[in-house]
Structures are given as structure tokens and as C-alpha cells.
């Protein structure tokens, strides 16, 4: 009977404990990545089998504790309390055991049995701090499974232990943490007051503890569930003690002290670790910045060097495919061949070309994250980022945005909190990507001469960044204000990269891109093709042109004719497409020189300046839009950004044109 039931195992752990590695090893590729219902926090579930039983594994968000202060912590604790998994496995880093056990102390008062996975045993030994798993087990009454998940050692044993635990009804009577001595009476009193009124399935002793901690959610819940007289009594009791939060934390650490006394060997005092040696430079206020720029730029250059040829190769392959398919469709109605070649094949080609890039990006940056270097980047950039309403970890996606916004927006996933992640997702598209800068390098010299061109280019890029900075401040103060915990973060030890972890990560991101963002891109590419084709196959009389004509008043404000406007709008499909469209619409000869001449004839320098400003700030390209929808889990934010950028781009473009007209 037991063999048929699916056993649910929750996987918990603080950040940087190798929890994802454990999850990946347990589930292989049998995992599903999505989001927790209604949230933008990532959810991973998977399955594993052992000895005839099926295990459903749920990867809870990595959290330091289970307070009500962040959506990640609420998700983790609500899952355990409401869904009541059979077991929760807490992954710990043996070299960081004292601190990692804090999460275990938060979980023990809940009714789900805890098993400790003692990971990174090798690192602990290397750092001169080996841990004795048996001693830990003896002291706590909790099953402890030592492992080195990165080398696939000990993970199967974990499943075996879970299996035995669930099936053999082993006795589970762990030592539970108590509150610090000077608050024990308070805890007893509070618990007495709430007895019988705690809604299921919340454990009473856990609720009492949370009330002492001042937990927002639990406080609200008990206020509703207790009659006013008793609630007033509870409030009265709590008011007398202003240190309760630290008393609870203190009690937890006392438990940890008891648990680890016999299990951990004290290290030699003052031992300089490998981590500290590298960090002397990596976190130095001056050298740290240079090191970081060096490493990140090297990574970006490597990504471009490998990615561009592959992308170009794919695009060429697509053109060839188009040429092969064209004669086959010669007898079909024109619209079908147009749809297939210019819509579908082009769309699919664009998605694949982007994907090639993304895979390389994610591999490189996933590697840097895995060895622990990214925390140093966040540390070095934190002060600068806070000035625009973001924080250190958001720097990396912004930097990536200079080459391409698509992987940059996808890269915001590493940011720990939901609010900070959303902010980064919304601001990254404001960073001018390479396609936009290339447009700039093509245009500027045509109208402003070599010296003027450089000035224009630099000012436009800095200007775009200024708009991003100001938008960040606006976003922070007006649109998404919220409690900030302030800058306090762990700097994990460096460790050797685990290629399986990085590989799984790249695979998941690629798959997500293809299924979600990819379909958006394809759909819109076909849509735009349709607009430029209908109703009679000639772009000059198409719906797209009609839209362009309708916007002539706008164009006049900017000194642009409808063709330039349409070209601007096609930069929505891809920034690269804008140049191609311009060539077509202006009837230019099929060469760069031809386009250059046609452009110079079409608009004045002042209009060119306005056009460039608008182009730099214009709405994100299709691909970016697709990932924004994906990462923010809603069309609402994507459309908001679209509207915001549309307005800003044109407002500033018009302003610059009108002023330039007077000056030039």
C-alpha cells in the first residue's frame, strides 16, 4: 500500500548551501520550473524514485529564516504548514553549519519532521572545520545525512534515509529550541492565552513564538481569532518586553550551540582562507571595481566572440532556408509564401539566433555565480545602485543590457527579493543595447561629421543612462516604494564550479525562453509581417503604412516623414530591423552607401538628432518584451513599460528636435 503513495519531500535551505545541486541530482531532468501561484518567485518541483516509491520533491525558496518579511519566506512556511509534506530536508553547508542551522530551528516547532542534509563536507574539511555527522545526530535527535552533492556523493543515501524514515515509522523526538530563559514565563503566558483559539493547521507553540517575534501575519491572524479581551491581554503581556525578538533568536542559537558543541572542530584562529585571499582584491573599494569590470567585460567579450558568429550563422542559415523554400511556394498564393518566409521562418530564425546568444551568456554568468563571485559584484556596486533605487545584485543585469536586453532581463532572476527583481526587470530595458548603439554609429557620422558624431554618441548613451537612473528613482519613490531591509548580505566562500549545476541552469533557462518568450516573439513577428503585408501585399499601402500616415502629425513634430516613423516602429520587432526597413521604405539601393545618401536626403540633422534620441529610448524590442512578460508574470508591467517608454521617447525626441532646429 505504502509503495503506491507519492511521498512529498520539501527541500529547504539557506542561500549558498548547494540546495539546487541536491535538487538537481535527485531529480535529474525530471523537474518542472514555474512560479508559485500568483507570485513572481520561482518554483521548482520534480520527482525521484527509490525502491518502488515515488517521491515528489518541492524546492522551497532559499531563505535565512521564516519570518513574514518577504514573499519567499511566506511561501516556504505556508507550504509546510498548509501542504504538510511528509518530510522537510534542510540542506546545510557543513562549513557554515552554525548559521545554516538557524533555519532548522525555525522549522522544528512546525509539525513536519526534519532531516538534515549535511552538504559540502569536502569544503568544511578543506577549511579546517570538519563536522561529525553522528555527533550532530546524537545531540539533536534529527537524522543527519552527510554528502558532497556537487560530486554526487551521499545524495542517494539521503533518499534511502527519507524512505526508511517514512516507511519504518522511526521514532522522531528531536530536541526543540526554547526561548531564552528570561522570556520563558512570557511564552508560557502567551501560549495559555491563545490556547484553543489557534486556527488549524497552525501549531499553537509555533504561533506563540511568532507572536513574541512580532510576526506581522501571525499577529493579524490571532487578533482576528481571539476575542478582544484575551487579545488585549496578549498585547499587554508583549508590551512589557521590548527584547522578545532577540530572546527568541537567542534561544535558537543556544540550541545551535548545544547541537554543534561536539560536532564541530574549532578551526585554528586567524587562519587565512582561500576566500579571504582573493577577496582582499575583489572587495577592495578601488581594486574591487577594476577586478569586477575586468572579469565582467572579459565574460561579455567572450560571449560576443562565441555568440555572434553562431547567431550570424543561424541568420544566414535562415536566409538560405528562405531561398530554398521560396521556389517551392512559387505556385502558392503570394500571401502564403510571404507568411511562411517573412513571418514564420524569420520569426523562428530570430528566436534561435537569440537563443544561441543566451545559452553562452547563461553558461558564463552561471559559472561566475556558481563559484560565488557574483556576491562580490553585488558588494562592490551596491552603493552606486542604491542611488537609483536598486541594489548591488541588480548591477549585473544592467551591465548585460549593454549588449542585449534579452539575457539581461532574464538574468534578473538571481535577485533575491520579488520587489527588487521587478524593479530590475523594469529598468533593464532602458539600457541601450548593442543594436541601438550600432544604429547610432551608422547614423551619427552622416549628419554630424566625425567630431560631432562622437559627441552625439557619447551624450546620447549617457543621456539614456540618466533617464534610466531617474526612472529608477521614480520607480523607487512613487511606483514601488516598500520596506527595505538595508544592505546586509552574506559573502559565501568561493568554491569550485559544478558543471552539472551550471548545465542544468542553462538548460532550464533555454527551455523557458523557447516556450514562453519564444512564442511571444514568433506571434508578434507574424503579426507585424501581416500588418506590413495586408491588404494587398505592398508595404506602401499596407496597414502598417496607414498607421504611419495616421501618425503624420507626430512625425511633423519631429521633422520625420511617415517612412522614418514606420522604420522607428519596426525597431520594435528588432532594433536591427529598423535599418533594414528604412532601406526598403526609402527605396534606397541595397548598399550602406545607398542608404546613407537616401537618409541624408530625407531628413535634416536636427530631425536626425531627434530621431536618434527617440530611437535610443524607444520601446523594448520583441524579444525583450517577451522576457519582460515572462519575468514579471504579467502583461500589465510590460504594457506599462511600453507606454512609459513610448511617451518618454517621443517627448524627448520632439523636445530635442525643436530645440536643435532653432540652434542648428
Amino acid at each position: 500500500m505504502e509503495q503506491q503513495k507519492t511521498i512529498t519531500v520539501a527541500l529547504a535551505g539557506q542561500p549558498n548551501t548547494g540546495k539546487s545541486t541536491v535538487f538537481n541530482v535527485l531529480t535529474g531532468l525530471k523537474q518542472h520550473v514555474g512560479n508559485w501561484p500568483g507570485k513572481t518567485v520561482e518554483q521548482k518541483t520534480g520527482s525521484a524514485t527509490y525502491d518502488g516509491s515515488t517521491y515528489r520533491l518541492v524546492d522551497l525558496p532559499g531563505t535565512y529564516s521564516l519570518t513574514a518579511n518577504s514573499p519567499e519566506e511566506l511561501i516556504a512556511r505556508d507550504f509546510i504548514i498548509q501542504e504538510q509534506p511528509d518530510v522537510v530536508v534542510v540542506v546545510t553547508d557543513a562549513a557554515m553549519l552554525e548559521r545554516n542551522l538557524y533555519l532548522v530551528t525555525e522549522l522544528l516547532p512546525l509539525s513536519t519532521p526534519v532531516i538534515i542534509a549535511l552538504n559540502m563536507m569536502d569544503v568544511a574539511k578543506q577549511e579546517g572545520r570538519p563536522v561529525d555527522p553522528r555527533a550532530l545526530e546524537q545531540a539533536t535527535g534529527i537524522r543527519v545525512v552527510p554528502m558532497v552533492a556537487a560530486k554526487n556523493r551521499g545524495v542517494k543515501e539521503l533518499l534511502a534515509v527519507v524512505h526508511d524514515f517514512v516507511h519504518d515509522g522511526v521514532e522522531y523526538a528531536p530536541d526543540k529550541p526554547e526561548v531564552r530563559e528570561d522570556h520563558r514565563a512570557l511564552l508560557d503566558d502567551v501560549q495559555a492565552q491563545i490556547a484553543g483559539s489557534v486556527p488549524a493547521p497552525y501549531p499553537e507553540d509555533w504561533v506563540a513564538l511568532k507572536l513574541l517575534e512580532g510576526d506581522k501575519v501571525v499577529t493579524e491572524m490571532m487578533k482576528e481569532n481571539l476575542d478582544p479581551a484575551r487579545w488585549a491581554k496578549v498585547e499587554g503581556l508583549l508590551r512589557e518586553y521590548d527584547d522578545a525578538q532577540l530572546a527568541v533568536a537567542g534561544g535558537r542559537y543556544e540550541w545551535i550551540e548545544r547541537a554543534t558543541r561536539a560536532a564541530i572542530e574549532r578551526p585554528k584562529a586567524g587562519a587565512i582562507t582561500r576566500t579571504r585571499r582573493f577577496d582582499r582584491i575583489a572587495t577592495h573599494p578601488v581594486w574591487g571595481v577594476f577586478t569586477m569590470l575586468g572579469i565582467l567585460i572579459a565574460a561579455i567579450v567572450a560571449a560576443m566572440a562565441i555568440g555572434m558568429p553562431i547567431s550570424m550563422g543561424i541568420m544566414n542559415g535562415i536566409s538560405s532556408l528562405g531561398s530554398i523554400v521560396a521556389p517551392l511556394l512559387a505556385n502558392a498564393p503570394a500571401w502564403i509564401s510571404g507568411l511562411v518566409i517573412d513571418g514564420i521562418i524569420y520569426g523562428v530564425g530570430a528566436v534561435l539566433a537569440i537563443l544561441a546568444f543566451l545559452v553562452i551568456y547563461f553558461a558564463l554568468f552561471g559559472l561566475l555565480e556558481d563559484i560565488g563571485y557574483m556576491a562580490r559584484v553585488a558588494y562592490v556596486m551596491d552603493r552606486a545602485m542604491r542611488k537609483i533605487g536598486l541594489h548591488g545584485k541588480s548591477f549585473l543585469p544592467l551591465l548585460m543590457g549593454f549588449t542585449c536586453n534579452i539575457p539581461a532581463v532574464m538574468g534578473t532572476r538571481v535577485i533575491e527579493t520579488e520587489r527588487a527583481r521587478l524593479k530590475a526587470v523594469l529598468l533593464t530595458p532602458l539600457v541601450p543595447c548593442m543594436a541601438q548603439t550600432m544604429m547610432l554609429t551608422f547614423f551619427a557620422p552622416l549628419f554630424f561629421g566625425p567630431g560631432g558624431a562622437t559627441l552625439v554618441m557619447v551624450s546620447l548613451i549617457l543621456g539614456a543612462l540618466a533617464v534610466m537612473g531617474l526612472s529608477g528613482i521614480l520607480l523607487d519613490r512613487v511606483v514601488l516604494p516598500g520596506e527595505r531591509i538595508g544592505f546586509i548580505m552574506e559573502l559565501p566562500l568561493y568554491h569550485r564550479p559544478n558543471f552539472r549545476t551550471v548545465g542544468t541552469y542553462v538548460w532550464q533557462r533555454a527551455r523557458q525562453f523557447l516556450t514562453r518568450a519564444g512564442t511571444v516573439i514568433l506571434a508578434v513577428a507574424v503579426g507585424i509581417w501581416a500588418l506590413s503585408y495586408l491588404p494587398n501585399g505592398d508595404v506602401e499601402t499596407s496597414i502598417l503604412a496607414a498607421i504611419g500616415h495616421a501618425l503624420t502629425p507626430l512625425g511633423n513634430l519631429m521633422g520625420l516623414n511617415w517612412r522614418m516613423l514606420v522604420a522607428l516602429f519596426t525597431s520594435f520587432v528588432s532594433k536591427e530591423a529598423a535599418l533594414a526597413t528604412m532601406a526598403v521604405l526609402l527605396g534606397a539601393a541595397d548598399t550602406e552607401a545607398g542608404l546613407a545618401i537616401a537618409l541624408q536626403a530625407a531628413i535634416t540633422p536636427a530631425a536626425a538628432l531627434g530621431f536618434l534620441v527617440t530611437q535610443m529610448l524607444f520601446v523594448p524590442c520583441l524579444g525583450t518584451l517577451g522576457v519582460i512578460v515572462e519575468e514579471s508574470r504579467s502583461w500589465k508591467w510590460a504594457l506599462a513599460i511600453l507606454a512609459y517608454l513610448f511617451v518618454i521617447a517621443f517627448a524627448l525626441g520632439i523636445l530635442v528636435y525643436q530645440v536643435a532646429r532653432l540652434v542648428m
Binding site: Y64, S65, T67, N69, A95, M96, E98, R99, Y102, L103, R129, E213, G214, K216, Q245, L246, A249, G250, Y253, P267, T275, R276, D279, T283, P285, Y379, D382, R383, E483, I485, G486, F487, I488, M489, E490, L491, P492, L493
Partner: protein, 77 residues
């Protein structure tokens, strides 16, 4: 008693008290900052964030946050 950011590189202090909102105190406590625990200053350049070691973990803090942690220097004991 003095704020954490007054510790020089290489000095060790013992946490006495934590000021600040609930959110900060929870996060600080979860990372290991509780009264009675030793904190070693690893990097303090007078400006910019600091790095300390607490309960065997390297933790980086902003100066504003460090100001909320009161420590007593070990030598005072």
C-alpha cells in the same frame, strides 16, 4: 559600547544590542548577530560597506546598517 563601524580592521567586538526595525533585526539575527556573539572586523575603509566575520560567516553590511549594531570591544572586557 560603540557602533560596529567603529571597529578597525582586525579588531574583535562582542555584540551588545541591535537597534532598528523588525525586518532588520530578523535578518541580522538570522545571519548570526545576537547579543553576546563575537564579531571580527575584516575590512573597514572608513567609507563604503564593511565586511565582518560572525559565526564563521563573512557578512557585508552598509555603514548605516553597521551603525545599528552596538558592540563592546573585546579589549574592554
Amino acid at each position: 559600547m560603540a557602533p560596529l563601524n567603529s571597529l578597525e580592521t582586525g579588531e574583535v567586538g562582542v555584540v551588545q544590542a541591535l537597534d532598528g526595525g523588525r525586518g532588520f533585526i530578523s535578518r541580522a539575527a538570522a545571519l548570526g548577530f545576537t547579543p553576546g556573539i563575537e564579531v571580527a572586523m575584516v575590512q573597514n575603509f572608513r567609507r563604503g560597506p564593511l565586511i565582518v566575520v560572525v559565526r564563521d560567516t563573512h557578512v557585508a553590511l552598509g555603514r548605516g546598517e553597521a551603525r545599528k549594531i552596538q558592540v563592546g570591544k573585546l579589549v574592554d572586557w
